[in-house]
C-alpha cells in the first residue's frame, strides 16, 4: 500500500502529533520505569550509583528516541523494515567475529560510545519485517506452505544466531514472538498444532531417552532440568539462584518489608539482583501489593497496545503494535515465571525495570513505533 492510501490529510501534522500520541501508554511506561529506578536505587543500598542514576539518563534518552520514532510516519518505518532487518542480521553475524565477550557469552559490539547488543535490536527488526511481510502478502496466500516457510526462515535465522551467542532467553523470545505474529497474521491453525505436537514430542523424547544410549542431551543439561523441576535438590549449587529468589519473593508477604528493608537483596543472597532478579527485590520490599501492582501496570500497557492495534485499520501498524505487545508480554511473563520458579532460569530481564541500556532504548524505540502507528493510523470512513 502506498502512503497515499493512508489518507494523509486525515493524519495530524507537525507538533500536533504529540497530542495524538497514545498518552495512557506513555504514562504507564513512565510509571513502570519509575518503579525500576526505585528498585535500582534500593538494590544499590540507597544510592543513585551505580545503577539508578544512569538508568534514569537512559530512560530520558529513550523517551526522546520514542518521541522521534513516533513523529516519523509509520509508512517510513514500513518501507525500511526489510532494510533494518538486514542490518540487524549483519550485526548479529558481526557479533560472532568482533563481539565483546562478557559473562560467558558474546553479545555486545563495542561502538566506542556504547555497547550495542544486536540481539535486542534483532527482536524489534524481526517484528517490523514480519509485519511488513504480512502487510504485503495477500490474505489468500497467508496459509500456503511456501508463504509460510519464508517467514519461518525469517524468524529462524536471527533466532539461531542469537542461540549461538549463547543467549537462550532472547532466542526464545524471538522464536515464540515471531510465531505469535504469524498466528496473528492468520496462518492456519494446523501449522501451529503440528509445531506444538512436535515440540511436546521432542520434550518427551529428551526425557525418555535419559540414561539410555540414545540420550539426546549432555548430563549437565539434564541436571539443569532437574534443578528447575526441584531446586531444593541442589540448594547451594545450581538451585541456589532460584531458591534464594523464591525466599526473597515469598518473604515479602502482603505488604513487604518496606523500601530498602529487603534482607535478601541487601545482604547479597539474591543473584543478579539489579538485572534478571530485580522483581524479587520489588516483591520482597513491597510484598504482594507491590508485585501485583507491577503486574497490573504491565497488563494495562498490553491493554492499551492491543486496543490501539484493534482500532488501527492499517495492517502493518496493527501487526507491529501487537508484535511489540507480544514481545513485551513475553519479556515480563518469562522473567516473572523464572523468578517465581515456574520456568527455568533463562536470563530474560524485566522490561523497563531491569538494569540494561540497550534493552531500555530498544524497548522505548519499539513503543515509539506503536505510537507512530497510533498517530498515523487511517482515520475517517473507509
Amino acid at each position: 500500500m502506498s502512503y497515499l492510501e493512508y489518507r494523509v490529510r486525515t493524519v495530524p501534522t507537525g507538533f500536533r502529533k504529540i497530542l495524538y500520541l497514545n498518552w495512557p501508554l506513555v504514562l504507564l511506561v513512565t510509571a513502570v520505569a519509575c518503579i525500576g529506578f526505585m528498585m535500582l536505587y534500593s538494590v544499590a543500598g540507597g544510592s543513585y550509583s551505580p545503577w539508578a542514576g544512569p538508568q534514569m539518563k537512559r530512560f530520558g534518552l529513550g523517551m526522546v528516541l520514542m518521541l522521534v520514532v513516533a513523529m516519523v510516519p509509520i509508512w517510513f518505518w514500513r518501507n525500511i523494515s526489510g532494510f533494518v532487518y538486514a542490518i540487524s542480521l549483519v550485526l548479529l553475524i558481526m557479533v560472532e567475529y568482533v563481539g565483546v565477550t562478557g559473562m560467558g557469552a558474546k553479545r555486545w559490539i563495542d561502538l566506542g560510545f556504547m555497547q550495542l547488543q544486536p540481539s535486542e535490536l534483532g527482536k524489534i527488526t524481526l517484528i517490523m519485517a514480519l509485519a511488513a511481510y504480512y502487510d504485503w502478502l495477500s490474505i489468500e496466500r497467508t496459509s500456503r506452505p511456501q508463504w509460510v516457510l519464508l517467514p519461518v526462515a525469517m524468524i529462524l535465522v536471527p533466532t539461531l544466531l542469537v542461540l549461538k551467542q549463547p543467549d537462550l532467553g532472547t532466542a526464545i523470545l524471538m522464536g515464540v514472538g515471531g510465531g505469535i505474529i504469524m498466528f496473528l497474521a492468520g496462518v492456519h491453525w494446523l501449522y501451529f498444532a503440528v509445531v506444538i505436537l512436535i515440540g511436546v514430542g521432542a520434550i518427551w523424547a529428551v526425557l525418555a531417552t535419559r540414561g539410555t544410549e540414545l540420550q539426546l542431551l549432555n548430563d549437565y543439561q539434564y541436571r539443569r532440568i532437574d534443578t528447575f523441576l526441584d531446586p531444593a535438590n541442589d540448594p547451594l549449587g545450581a538451585g541456589y539462584h532460584i531458591t534464594q529468589s523464591k525466599i526473597a519473593l515469598g518473604s515479602g508477604g502482603w505488604t513487604g518489608r518496606g523500601f530498602m528493608q529487603g534482607t535478601q537483596s541487601r545482604l547479597n543472597f539474591l543473584p543478579e539482583k539489579h538485572t534478571d532478579f530485580i522483581f524479587t527485590t520489588l516483591a520482597e520490599e513491597f510484598g504482594f501489593v507491590g508485585a501485583f501492582s507491577l503486574l497490573t501496570l504491565y497488563g494495562l500497557i498490553l491493554f492499551f497496545c492491543i486496543t490501539s492495534a484493534l482500532r488501527n485499520r492499517d495492517r502493518f501498524g496493527s501487526l507491529l503494535t501487537l508484535g511489540v505487545a507480544v514481545t513485551f508480554f513475553l519479556f515480563f511473563a518469562v522473567n516473572m515465571s523464572m523468578v517465581m520458579g515456574l520456568a527455568p532460569v533463562v536470563g530474560v530481564p524485566l522490561p523497563l525495570v531491569s538494569w540494561g541500556g540497550t534493552a531500555m532504548l530498544v524497548l522505548l524505540g519499539a513503543f515509539g513505533l506503536t505510537h507512530s502507528a497510533h498517530v498515523h493510523r487511517p482515520r475517517g470512513k473507509r
Binding site: M1, L267, R315
Partner: protein
C-alpha cells in the same frame, strides 16, 4: 499494488488479537495467583527461611568462675589474653606484613605456619589469629605500630590463669581445650563445648565443679550476607559468668606446706578438727598448671611423666601407703572397745612374737619389756600390737578403722580419689580369686601385720588426717574442701559423736601426747616448746619390702644403704594443740626413711605455721634446735605474704 486492508484480513487479525489478549490475561492470572500463593499463603515459611539466611547466632563464652582460698586469695583467675589478628583482604602483602610483625615481636614458627595456611584457605574477610598469648609489652608494641600494619588488629580474650602456680596444681587442677575425647565422654548438650578451643576443667576442682564454674553461654545475633561477612550486630545477650568458688584451704598455709615438702616425694594434709575444713592439702613435687592451660610442650610433659617422684600424681588422695605405726591407734581402740585389753594391762615384748615357725619382729631388736598401752604407743612397740591384733581379730580392727575414716572414700571434688584398703576375710577371698598364686584364707599372720599397719592395709594421707582429726575430736569429722559456691556457704556436715568410749579415746590420746612430748617418745625430737601449742602425734615407718635373710645376715638394714625406691615410707599423724585440738595433720614422705626423722619435723613445722598463722617465732622450738630451724626458714621459698595480702579480699 492491491490493498491488503480488506475486511476478511482485518477480522481475522482482530479475532486472533483478542484470543491472544485473552491468553495473555489468563497467563497473567496464573502469575498473579502464584504471587498470591507465595507471598500470602506461604509467606511465613519464606520469611523464616529468609531469617535463617540472614541471622547467624554466635556464642559468647562466659567468664569462668574464679576460685579463691578461704580468705579470698585468688587461686584461679581469668587473665587477659592478647592476640594478633589478621584480615587478609585488608593486608596489601601478607608475607611482607608477617615479616614486619616478626621484627616487632617474637613469633612461633609453627604458629606462623598454621596461620599462613589458614589465611590462604579462609575467605579474605575472616579474621585469622596470628599469635596468641602475647606479653603486654609485645601487645603494646603491635598496638602502637598498628597504623603501619594495615589489616593487623589486636584482640583481648580471657584465659585461665593460676597465680599460685604449683601450690594448687593437684587440688584445683587445670583447664584445657575441649577434646574429642571429652566430647565423647560427657553427655553434655551445652553448645559452649562446640566453640573451638573452649576451655573446660580437666583435673581436680576445675573438672569436678565444672557445671558451677562454666557459666552459661551468651549469644550474639549477627546479620551476615550471602558470603558470610558480618554486616552488623543485631543483639547481644552477655551470658551468665560462672559461679565463684571459695575453698576451705588457706593459701598461705598451702604455700608453706608445698614449700616445706619441697622436692621430696611427699604429701601433707591439714584438717580443722572442729568442722572438717581442709586447711591445706599438699602433694610434692608439684608442677605449674599454667603450662597445661597454654598447651604443654612435649619435652615438658615428658619431664613430668618420666620423673621418678611422679609430680602429676595427687599423693594426698590418690596415693595409698601402708600406714605403719600410725595405724596403731586403730588397733588399740579396737582392742579397748572389744574389751580385750585394759590400758593398764602390760604385755611383754621380747623383740619378737613367735607365731608357729614365723617370727614377727619388733622394730627394737632388744624388745621393750613389759609395756602398757601408753608405753606401747609412745615407744611404738610392735609386739604389743601384734598381740592385741591376734586377740581382737581383723574384723574388729577394720570396723574401728572404718569408724575413724580409713578404707572409706571421702568424697571431695578432687580427681582420682583412692579408697585404700581395709582388709577383711571376705576381702581376702575376693582378692585371692583374682590371681592363682594367692592364698584365700585369712591367716593370723595377716592380722598381726595389719595390727601394725602393714600387710594389706593401705591408706591415703587424707584418710590418715581424718583419722587423727576423729581421734582428737571424738567426732566423725567429714572433710570439706568447698567453703562457698557463688557466695553461698556450703553447709558443713555436722559431725556426729563417735561411738567410742571417751575413756578409751583418752587413753589413746595420752599415748599420742607422749609420743611427741615424753622424753622417750619416738617424736620427742620434734616436740614443741610452747606449752599451749604442743601436739599429740604418732610416727610411722612403713616397709615397702621384706628384709631378706641374706640382707639381715649382711647387716644391710639401714635405709640410707638402700636404693631410694626400696627405702621405708616415713609417716606422721598429729593433732594440736593437744589440750584443745584445732588442727589435725598427716605427713608422708615416700621412701623418706623413719617417721620420726623424716615426717615428724615436717608435721611440727606445719602445725606451728598453722597455729601461728605465719612463720612461728624460734621460741616455739626447743632451744637446741633453733639454729637449724633458722637455717631452714631461710631456705624456704615462700610467697611474699605482703604481696598477697594487698590483694587479699576478705569474703
Amino acid at each position: 499494488m492491491p490493498s491488503k486492508n480488506n475486511k476478511a484480513g482485518s477480522a481475522t487479525l482482530s479475532r486472533r488479537a483478542i484470543i491472544l489478549g485473552g491468553a495473555q490475561l489468563a497467563f497473567m492470572g496464573v502469575l498473579g495467583l502464584r504471587m498470591r500463593f507465595m507471598q500470602v499463603e506461604e509467606a511465613d515459611k519464606f520469611r523464616l527461611l529468609a531469617e535463617e539466611n540472614r541471622v547467624n547466632i554466635r556464642l559468647i563464652a562466659p567468664a569462668r568462675g574464679l576460685i579463691y582460698d578461704r580468705f579470698g586469695d585468688l587461686i584461679a583467675g581469668n587473665e587477659q589474653n592478647y592476640r594478633i589478628i589478621m584480615v587478609r583482604e585488608d593486608v596489601e602483602n601478607v608475607e611482607a606484613t608477617i615479616a614486619r610483625l616478626a621484627r616487632l615481636v617474637e613469633l612461633d614458627p609453627s604458629d606462623l605456619d598454621r596461620a599462613t595456611k589458614e589465611l590462604k584457605r579462609r575467605s579474605p574477610f575472616v579474621p585469622v589469629t596470628i599469635a596468641d598469648r602475647l606479653s603486654w609489652t609485645d601487645f603494646a608494641e603491635i598496638a602502637v605500630n598498628a597504623p603501619a600494619l594495615p589489616g593487623v588488629t589486636t584482640e583481648v580474650g580471657l584465659s585461665r590463669h593460676y597465680p599460685q602456680a604449683g601450690d594448687f596444681a593437684h587440688v584445683v587442677g587445670y583447664v584445657g581445650p575441649v577434646s574429642d575425647y571429652d566430647l565423647a565422654k560427657i553427655d553434655d548438650q551445652d553448645p559452649l563445648l562446640q566453640i573451638p578451643k573452649f576451655q573446660i576443667g580437666k583435673v581436680g576442682v576445675e573438672t569436678k565443679l565444672e557445671p558451677q564454674l562454666r557459666g552459661r553461654a551468651g549469644t550474639l545475633r549477627i546479620e551476615v550476607n550471602a558470603v558470610g561477612r558480618v554486616m552488623r550486630e543485631l543483639d547481644r545477650q552477655p551470658g551468665i559468668p560462672g559461679e565463684n568458688l571459695q575453698l576451705t584451704v588457706d593459701a598461705m598455709l598451702q604455700n608453706f606446706v608445698q614449700a616445706r615438702l619441697g622436692n621430696e616425694s611427699a604429701s601433707a594434709v591439714v584438717i580443722d578438727t572442729t568442722n572438717g575444713d581442709i586447711l591445706a592439702i599438699g602433694s610434692a613435687p608439684s608442677f605449674d598448671p599454667n603450662k597445661f592451660v597454654r598447651g604443654i610442650s612435649v619435652p615438658d610433659y615428658a619431664e613430668l611423666t618420666e620423673h621418678e617422684y611422679r609430680p602429676l600424681a595427687n599423693k594426698s588422695v590418690q596415693g595409698v601407703y601402708p600406714p605403719g605405726s600410725t595405724f596403731k591407734m586403730v588397733t588399740a581402740l579396737a582392742g579397748l572397745e572389744a574389751g580385750i585389753i585394759d590400758p593398764e594391762e602390760r604385755i611383754f615384748c621380747g623383740g619378737y612374737k613367735q607365731l608357729g615357725n614365723r617370727r614377727f619382729h619388733c622394730w627394737r631388736r632388744g624388745g621393750h619389756g613389759n609395756v602398757s598401752l601408753l608405753e606401747a604407743l609412745f615407744q611404738s612397740c610392735d609386739v604389743y600390737f601384734y598381740d592385741v591384733a591376734e586377740r581382737v581379730g581383723i574384723e574388729n580392727i577394720t570396723k574401728m578403722a572404718t569408724k575413724l575414716g580409713l578404707g572409706y572414700r571421702h568424697d571431695l571434688p578432687m580427681s582420682a580419689i583412692n579408697t585404700g584398703i581395709m582388709p577383711t576375710k571376705a576381702w581376702k577371698r575376693d582378692w585371692a580369686s583374682k590371681a592363682e598364686d594367692r592364698t584365700a584364707t585369712w591367716l593370723v599372720g595377716d592380722s598381726l601385720n595389719a595390727g601394725i599397719g602393714q600387710g594389706f592395709v593401705l591408706a591415703s594421707p587424707l584418710q590418715l588426717a581424718v583419722m587423727s582429726a576423729r581421734i582428737a575430736s571424738g567426732k566423725a569429722i567429714i572433710p570439706r574442701l568447698i567453703k562457698t559456691v557463688d557466695g553461698i556457704e556450703v553447709p558443713a556436715p555436722k559431725p556426729e559423736i563417735l561411738d567410742i568410749n571417751p575413756a578409751h579415746l583418752k587413753a589413746v590420746r595420752d599415748g599420742m601426747i607422749a609420743v611427741s612430748n615424753a622424753q622417750r617418745g619416738t617424736a620427742y625430737r620434734s616436740r614443741i616448746a610452747e606449752k599451749h601449742n604442743q601436739m599429740a602425734g604418732k610416727t610411722g615407718t612403713s616397709q615397702v619390702r621384706n628384709i631378706t635373710a641374706a640382707e639381715r645376715a649382711r647387716g644391710v638394714t639401714r635405709n640410707s644403704d638402700l636404693p631410694w625406691k626400696r627405702r621405708d615410707h616415713a609417716l606422721f599423724v598429729a593433732y594440736a594443740p593437744h589440750a584443745a585440738p584445732k588442727i589435725a595433720v598427716s605427713v608422708i614422705v615416700e621412701h623418706g626413711g623413719g617417721g620420726s626423722t623424716a615426717a615428724a619435723p615436717i608435721a611440727r613445722d606445719i602445725v606451728l605455721q598453722a597455729l601461728h598463722g605465719g612463720l612461728p617465732p624460734l621460741t616455739a622450738y626447743p632451744s637446741s634446735q633453733r639454729g637449724t630451724i633458722q637455717e631452714l626458714h631461710n631456705t624456704l621459698e615462700l610467697r611474699d605474704p605482703a604481696g598477697t595480702s594487698s590483694g587479699r579480699i576478705k569474703i
